[in-house]
Symmetry: C2
């Protein structure tokens, strides 16, 4: 992973002159490129962990298991949120871990937590490193130092139960590696967030992740049957029963705990038979409300396809530009202009997965329903184009940052009866808060997860960076977005989690009694407060 | 509700001479009937609540809202578990509430909890009164007295959101009354436990109830989107978002809390369009393992019907006897004897619900799959017979008690790969623990809820009561069953909850760290410990 941005260091820029030209004409771009500084120029504070403690940690861990070198500390200094990238690219991370620890067994994990508690070292569990909400910021809280706990060494599948369609895996395993190992078994987990190529299973559990196919496979929390968490006060091991009425479901307290209660070390997960066929296609609704109405019916009739995404007018327009002279544009301008006499619309991607018969039956039912809502079928090309690009959005963000363009995303969910209002209020609030005559703001939105009772809304905001005040600009955006969500009766996050960025709105989300309850839970499991301080709770 | 047993006082006995004769020949029955004592003969301890506190409660509540009369105290002295009935019928309830309180608003609820905390009065929330695990036993814990909090007065639907298929209802509302009010709207909740005619919504949430149609509609916890709970330390109000990643899911802490943390007062629930058609039919598998295999495939291919139950050989045999000369027996003896040359088998009930087209399509797929597993279709008659009798089991239990026959049920769930072993171990352990040469034991079992990863097992044990040692006999059964479940890797309860009966095995279920975590949450929300003491936690 690039220390200053997303993904594979060898990835080539996808930002061609066509896209850049469009951005220059709409939001504006910087006159000169603003690349990241060199790695050596990144400024870190001196390591604060005592030699004595480092030696003790080295005795617990295998050779190379304690690192305090520049690269390790930079790579664990932040997640991949917009402010993280701003700071890293400038060579000034907000903070950095004093040490990075690489355990490879649960015993080592237990010993690390005991030692860190004794030595007053805060611990930040670190999986794929993809948090976009400040969940990995190495805050030391009231402690003398802070260590990142890199879980890469806990990366195995330990059991496959084909009959029950359950597997047991260690928390540091990457989702992409899990799928690679399940493929020869004819199995799949089915969890494909945009960050799929990097996320770890423990990270997905700790943040209640949802993937692009979660309409079909369910959000990550629905896949988790059993959990093992090591806390500073002992192990919480919850066996994976298919269902139980034995009291409150403690798994649901570990899911979403964001490393603040302990380290998730093992997961029992539901898997499924890998689909024989996967098929993506696109349809175009006349407008966003018509598309939402169709999505609602699909969800409530239990016929929603595995992947179901609906872009609003603004996002559909930009998709056409990004597609260049490609399939989507010709489809849109050709079919839609011809049929309707205007070129706007709301693009939907439908992804089907299953046996050939299942896909065929479901596809017919879905297309029939969306046609009843006025949708035009655009065929497979735009769908396949989406599928090819489905994990590459974060690369584009890096390229845009180089050209002085801010790209930030945030997301929410609300019930169907409230969706149109939330979409309007949030879009409008963000536009008002950020925009001024010299700097237009693009606010794009799509629905990406549907439920019987409601849906998610995923916003992308694109505007010219306010040079020299980039962080203040971002804070303005976050505040406007969060307050608009709360005012609109929508959750402050559907699948990005809380981290540092959303912590101050937790009282709005679950009430003061809810916040106090979570605090009491933390005091019980982590009385010294070493686990990921400053996250989740205000 | 009968004070000494189940249901409508005017219900007529269903125990005909045919069934009694069969029981006489198998497990044996008492020589003379053992009816319950008269109401006036039920012995209660004197009310321990101070006059001063009663007067203060009367000021909080509407007229008639504080009762200390004999009938009210007897009616709230217990749930409907086997030991509850033993004691009530003998006129010696284990305990009785000192007073019964009938709030009709949340403000009254808050005031009651504050007063009870001040006056050291324990509080047992009381919904439909149907707990079969001692969840309603009026234990006072360390307090001076105990009051039952009857929630009948909080029984309204307060909001219907047709677009989101969500309703808001008060916790005291009965499930049967909710369905009655939803029917004209064309909506249904779809929660039909055997206790459907009495259970309250709050009770279903507090105990993680599952219904006979939960394979189609999901267990009760899946229907709950939002929750309001009044605790002695304030309100926990959780809004009903379709999904959220804003930290641990506190709803899952309230679900299953069994009144030990506070009083659930309001629920936001997912509803569905009422099905146009409902259709029940029966099929017969050659044996239980063949049936389990088919159920597993139905669950894992997502084609399971709304109701799906599979009886083992023992339960199938008794079903034939209970059906007398009826449809099931003639179907079984006719079709099955003719086709297979022997009369044993594993009976399955399939219930379909949906539009005519949906039912038709699904029925074809299901019948095709079960036929591949060797099932014979028995047609609609045995299915409809089951549907007619689906809520009447508890009446039969009362009748059998009168004849000195013990009937106890318990249930569990485990993963598919473990189901056969758990079925065998639990059946055998119970038979060994209870049986002796003079007193045979019938152990019947069915699967009633299926999941992708596993299924429930619901056991019914029928044997002659050990007269004079009925409670000891029951304790022997409970212990044997629970220990066999734990040894078999199965949960101690799938949908009956914990109450007093299963509390001592919670450490086996969630570990000592899990128990301590629940205790810490209780201390946070109910520091004085007035809420339903002695339940859930050992």
């Amino acid at each position: 992973m690039r220390w200053w941005g997303w993904g594979d260091p060898n990835h080539l820029s996808a930002l061609d002159e066509h896209i850049l030209g469009h951005l220059r004409a709409t939001v504006g771009v910087s006159d000169r490129p603003r690349p990241p500084v060199a790695l050596a120029a990144v400024r870190l504070a001196p390591c604060r962990v005592h030699r004595r403690a480092l030696d003790a940690l080295a005795l617990i861990l295998p050779a190379g298991g304690v690192r305090t070198d520049h690269l390790a500390r930079v790579l664990h200094a932040a997640g991949k949120g917009y402010p993280d990238l701003l700071r890293l690219r400038a060579g000034e991370p907000q903070l950095s871990p004093d040490a990075v620890l690489y355990p490879s067994s649960e015993d080592q994990l237990r010993s690390i937590l005991a030692l860190c508690e004794r030595e007053s070292i805060a611990v930040v569990p670190f999986g794929g490193g993809t948090s976009v909400v400040g969940g990995l910021t190495p805050l030391s809280g009231e402690h003398a130092a802070v260590a990142a706990l890199d879980l890469t060494g806990l990366g195995q599948i330990t059991r496959i139960d084909r009959q029950s369609l359950m597997i047991t895996a260690q928390a540091g395993m990457r989702a992409v590696e899990l799928e690679r190992q399940l493929a020869p078994e004819g199995l799949t987990l089915g969890h494909f967030p945009q960050s799929f190529e990097y996320v770890s299973l423990g990270g997905c559990a700790a943040t209640r992740s949802a993937g692009q196919a979660s309409t079909g496979y369910g959000p990550f929390e629905d896949m988790v049957l059993g959990l093992g968490m090591i806390t500073p006060t002992g192990n919480l091991n919850l066996a994976g029963y298919p269902a139980s009425a034995a009291g409150p479901d403690l798994r649901e307290l570990i899911l979403g705990s964001e490393g603040t209660l302990g380290v998730i070390c093992e997961l029992e997960l539901r898997v499924r038979h890998a689909p024989q066929q996967q098929l993506y296609e696109a349809v175009l609704f006349e407008d966003f409300p018509a598309g939402c109405q169709a999505l609602r019916e699909l969800a409530q009739e239990h016929t929603a396809p595995t992947v179901l995404r609906l872009s609003d007018l603004q996002e559909t327009r930009l998709s056409m530009v990004l597609a260049g002279g490609g399939a989507l544009k010709s489809a849109l301008t050709g079919i839609y202009l011809g049929a309707r006499g205007h070129r706007d619309g709301a693009l939907a991607i439908l992804g089907f997965a299953g046996s050939e018969v299942q896909v065929d039956v479901q596809r017919k039912r879905v297309l029939e329903l969306v046609r009843r809502h006025g949708a035009l079928a655009l065929g497979g090309k735009p769908g396949r184009a989406w599928a090819r690009q489905r994990f590459s959005g974060p690369y584009l963000r890096d390229d845009l940052l180089t050209h002085g363009v801010m790209v930030e995303t945030f997301e929410t969910a609300t019930k169907w009866s409230n969706l149109a209002r939330a979409h309007r209020n949030i879009s409008e609030s963000v536009r008002l808060a950020l925009g001024h005559p010299q700097s237009p703001v693009l606010v794009l939105c799509h629905v990406s997860h549907v439920y019987e009772t409601g849906a998610s809304l995923y916003f992308t905001v694109i505007t010219r960076q306010r040079e020299g005040a980039e962080l203040e600009q971002w804070q303005t955006l976050k505040q406007a977005a969060a307050e608009a969500m709360i005012d609109s009766g929508a959750t402050i996050t559907h699948h990005h989690a809380v981290g540092t960025d959303h912590a101050r709105w937790m009282g709005d989300e679950i009430g003061q009694r809810g916040v106090d309850t979570l605090r009491a839970l933390k005091v019980e499991l982590d009385p010294a407060g070493i686990m990921n301080p400053g996250k989740l709770l205000p």
